[in-house]
Amino acid sequence: MHLYDLPLVCVLIGLALYTVLAGADFGAGFWTLLAGRGPAARTVREHAHESIAPVWEANHVWLIFVITVTWTAYPRAFGSIASTLAVPLAIALVGIVLRGAAYALLAGAVGARERARLELVFATSSILAPFALGSAVGAIASGRVPVGNAAGALFSSWLSPTGIMLGVLAVASCAYLAAVFLAADAARRGEPAIERRFRALALATGVAAGVLAAAGLAVLHGDAHHLYSRLVQGRALPGPIVSALAGAATLELVRRRRYEAARFSAALAVAAVIAGWALAQSPALLPGLSIRAAAAPHSTLVAVLVAILAGALLLFPSLGLLFSLVLRGRFEGAHTPPRPFAAAAAATAFSEGFAARLAGAGLVVGVGLLTIAEASWEHAIGVAGLLVFVLAGFAAVLPGELRAAEGGAEQPGGAGERAR
């Protein structure tokens, strides 16, 4: 393992997390489409939406992470991929936009018709996006993305046997992951009917995804033989084996209703496929372009790795906090009405008149040092002066305004009562 490999490892981890976390979101959309009609279907839909709700925005940032790290650390490969695979990536983008918009709008929808239309957009785009992304991976894996600006075929690169196969497999995996996650959520919330339903769906799609994956190897045999031979007898062999074992283990865990463990083994099954692909392809990133040749200069690789490390140290605990909040439902000491500060303490530290004079001084410093003076350090002090102007000005202006607002509400005919 070299320095130039490390960002790629991070990208693959990001891709695996995106596939698992966003994949489950996409799959939830898939199940809302197949839920059918009637009250039972509505419960299923509501359950699917509520399970996604608080974390869904966080999940797309994995894709952003994959994209930005790739173009920073392997810019030539990124340019080639983004230009040749412009069509599937644009389709995935349209899917993500429509899905996000439909989801945001669903929160405000009231009528059954409105909801039904938005649900349809949400569900179809949930299928469109993973298919397009999966087929783009298929184009890269089967060596159909040459180095260069749109040097490969715009359509036959991803609408190839491998591309279509991986697109379908991606949709199936999303459905499978979602079914496992949704069954787990239903069990946690104590909703046995929904749990039974998603448990059955998880078992069925688990078997289907396994069959598709096996059929996929046959497609690779004919369409991307190099990849196939690495996967079944070369060093990438652990990938498919681990994936198959984890997949089988997940089925058994779901059957026994051990959902929390099943979440992890299902994620492992997906991650092993990505790892296997990477091992089968390395050291080539694209045909004729090794990872080493594609990598950015040393200084950039170090900088991006430091940024990733710092980001991980900051973000994983935060993400843990969010997940624990969502999974546990609440923290201790829920909503207690706040104790108002004592009136004496509520009085501002200094008077509004002083704040006004301070703001004036800040403005004078700002004009003098930012506008008239020329040196950088003078500009820095000038900016600080303007900051003082804004903050002190706010402290000078607002208390009077808020008092005036209270006074205004006492006037007869004020709409204040309606506001309550």
Partner: protein, 444 residues
């Protein structure tokens, strides 16, 4: 990689501009709105007054809805970096990419803590809840710092050398953060965020006031954003002037396009209005020597004209010039409105002073968005024909893939639909009852 011929370069640029123009007002809400919401929540904790809690919760819903749309439009922009400009990313990704990578983390933190903040309204202690919003405000700042660092680098590139079409001696940290262009541009955008959000939110309540809804709740909801915008808009005049002097020093061609200055001139005049043709501004109002004075603090300074560079290296002059004049005109008007408001506060004159004042506040919101987009037109169109100033042309950066018009049309249709959707959901949120909101709409 060889340079390709792209017949739809202009459409690619327009598509990028459309994506950007849709995204940037949402960015303003990411920058400024969390701070305002937290301030109102702090008022609630401080006074125990339920009105502030109601206001903070209602604004939170708007904030989350706009953030969700901003996630979408931001994802579009990050895709377009590759879909439209693969040669740019593949040549210079190692220099500027770090900024976007860190921005990704910043955005991640924003999403996580926004999730905690929204989900934690009734689940965290009041103090912990207030604190959980602080990272959202900070991430709004670091996010814009990173993106502006990349844009400032494109306008004033450094931190690398070119050898045979490849970058060598790359110093990404110096390229992004050791750049004199960064600070005025960052501050200009950051202050713009507060102006846009301040006037848009205040404008919504001013509109309500004109229609007779002006109780204590509305007065409070108007007073806070209006105070923010009134203080920020005079500051913006000074910051903008600072940014313009940097442009004068480092991007003389952009300055010449902004001013419509053909020949290089000593003691150059400033022109208001008018139309640039054949090397000079026609039908404009000339003010002697003002340009030299403003740009270089010396009425007799020499200002480089457009004719100093070949025609192929000049940006479209009238687009840049009109956008600049629009930005300055609106910015000045907003600063005057802000000063008027501060004067009113100082004299303790209660709102509404007059219907005309309220109408001006209503108008100030959309006007500030126009000024915001005009400012970006000046920066970005004024940078043409370069994507990396004096290093790489936009035509060398564009994709060789076909189908740009199809993508452009699709995106335009999609954004039109999203715009209708956003308007619709904001109306819904505005009509929702003011008492405790239902949890379903909370967790968008």
């Amino acid at each position: 990689m060889a340079v390709v011929h792209q017949a739809y370069l202009l459409q690619a640029r327009q598509m990028q501009a459309l994506s950007f123009a849709v995204h940037i007002p949402l960015v303003c809400f990411g920058i400024a709105f969390p701070a305002m919401v937290l301030f109102v929540e702090w008022l609630h904790l401080r006074t125990g007054d339920e009105l502030y809690r109601t206001l903070a919760r209602r604004w939170t819903r708007v904030m989350v809805a706009l953030f969700a749309v901003g996630v979408i439009t931001g994802t579009v922009l990050s895709f377009e970096m590759g879909l439209l400009w693969p040669q740019f990313t593949s040549t210079f990704g190692s220099v500027f990419g770090l900024g976007f990578a860190i921005e990704g983390f910043s955005f991640f933190a924003e999403a996580i803590f926004l999730g905690i903040y929204v989900y934690g309204w009734d689940r965290l202690s009041p103090r912990a809840h207030l604190l959980s919003g602080v990272p959202v405000v900070l991430a709004g700042f670091t996010g814009s710092l990173m993106v502006i660092a990349v844009n400032a680098w494109m306008n004033h590139p450094s931190g690398f050398r070119l050898s045979g079409g490849h970058v060598v001696h790359v110093h990404p940290v110096a390229a992004l953060f050791g750049n004199s262009f960064l600070w005025p541009e960052l501050l200009h955008m950051y202050v713009a965020g507060y102006i846009v959000v301040g006037f848009l939110v205040a404008g919504a309540y001013a509109l309500g006031a004109l229609r007779g809804r002006f109780g204590r709740y509305e007065r409070t909801a108007l007073a806070i954003p209006l105070a923010v915008a009134a203080l920020a808009s005079p500051v913006q005049v000074l910051v903008g002037d600072w940014a313009a002097r940097d442009v004068a020093r480092d991007q003389p061609v952009k300055l010449a396009a902004i001013e419509g200055l053909g020949p290089t001139t000593r003691g150059a005049d400033e022109h208001l209005l008018g139309w640039y043709r054949d090397g000079r501004v026609r039908y404009g109002i000339g003010i002697p020597k003002l340009l030299s004075l403003l740009a270089f603090h010396n009425p007799d300074a020499t200002v480089q004209g457009l004719e100093a560079v070949p025609e192929s290296e000049r940006p479209p002059v009238n687009v840049v010039r009109i956008a600049f004049q629009l930005m300055v005109a609106i910015g000045t008007a907003l600063a005057l409105l802000g000063a008027l408001h501060l004067y009113r506060c100082a004299r303790r004159l209660p709102l509404p002073v007059s219907r005309w004042f309220m109408r001006a506040v209503v108008l100030a919101g959309p006007a500030s968005v126009v000024a915001l987009i005009s400012g970006w037109v000046v920066t970005e169109v004024g940078r043409q024909p370069w994507v990396v100033y004096h290093v790489m042309r936009t035509s060398e950066a564009v994709t060789g893939a076909g189908g740009i018009p199809v993508g452009y049309a699709t995106l335009a249709a999609l954004y039109a639909a999203v715009a209708v959707g956003v308007a619709w959901i904001l109306r819904r949120l505005a009509r929702a009852p003011l008492s405790e909101p239902e949890p379903r709409a909370e967790v968008i």
